[in-house]
Symmetry: C2
Subunit: 140 residues, 2 copies
């Protein structure tokens, strides 16, 4: 239950997102270690990663703590917070508020354990109970 009311989380580009993911996955890291931790294969130069880190800092998505002559970079917001912001924006921008398509796609495509499936079904059942009777129609 992360609190509601996160309004202006910084918005990060997609390369930046890859970088900040390494921080979410590995905790605070020096630039060099971020570089090392990135999934090999994207082919970025170290300098590129540095630039991305700096931009993330400039945007307030990442901060750092000086350790010796270098920085330990750390994600300011949780993955959950940032992801939710992105999802919300996406749902509004592309899906016109209709979250059904993305939900359906996620359900179809994700590996979900039986437990997880059960949890989601429980959530849906509860929601249905609470909402019986409201109709919502979007054109075409």
């Amino acid at each position: 239950m992360t609190s509601h009311k996160e309004e202006s989380l910084p918005s990060v580009s997609s390369a930046e997102w890859e970088v900040i993911e390494t921080l979410w996955d590995n905790g605070p890291l020096a630039a060099r270690d971020v570089f090392a931790a990135l999934p090999a294969g994207h082919g970025w130069a170290y300098k590129t990663v540095k630039t991305l880190l700096s931009r993330l800092v400039a945007k307030g998505a990442v901060d750092y703590q000086q350790v010796g002559n270098s920085y330990l970079y750390r994600a300011v917001y949780s993955r959950d917070q940032m992801t939710h912001k992105e999802v919300k924006g996406f749902v509004e921008r592309v899906l016109d508020g209709a979250s059904l398509p993305i939900l359906a796609r996620l359900i179809e495509r994700e590996d979900l354990s039986d437990d997880q499936i059960a949890d989601l079904r429980r959530l849906l059942a509860e929601k249905e109970r609470k909402s019986l009777g409201k109709e919502e129609r979007r054109p075409r």
Copy 2:
């Protein structure tokens, strides 16, 4: 049931998306009518809309038919196709690490009609049927 196998649909920016939406919603339109049909309040100049239409044409997302001295613009791909592509890209870009929390949050917080809820439950039920017995654990 949109067919699978749409690979390289053009990718449109978010302003462009708003424009092409008016074409999906209203069928082929002249630039002027696109402008008029846009939800009032975004504050674009007519020229801006023209630019966006031209860019959409350049990208192959929109084409036109000349009628008199002006064009009737028309979306080349269906909303469904384009939306699908966007959802796919988004899910890959942002949600690859942590889709479960997002699923849960979306289900809890979004408005879903009863029909939609039923659809999702159906999807989950089917998935559960297919996956019974496999255990899949993803880290954190």
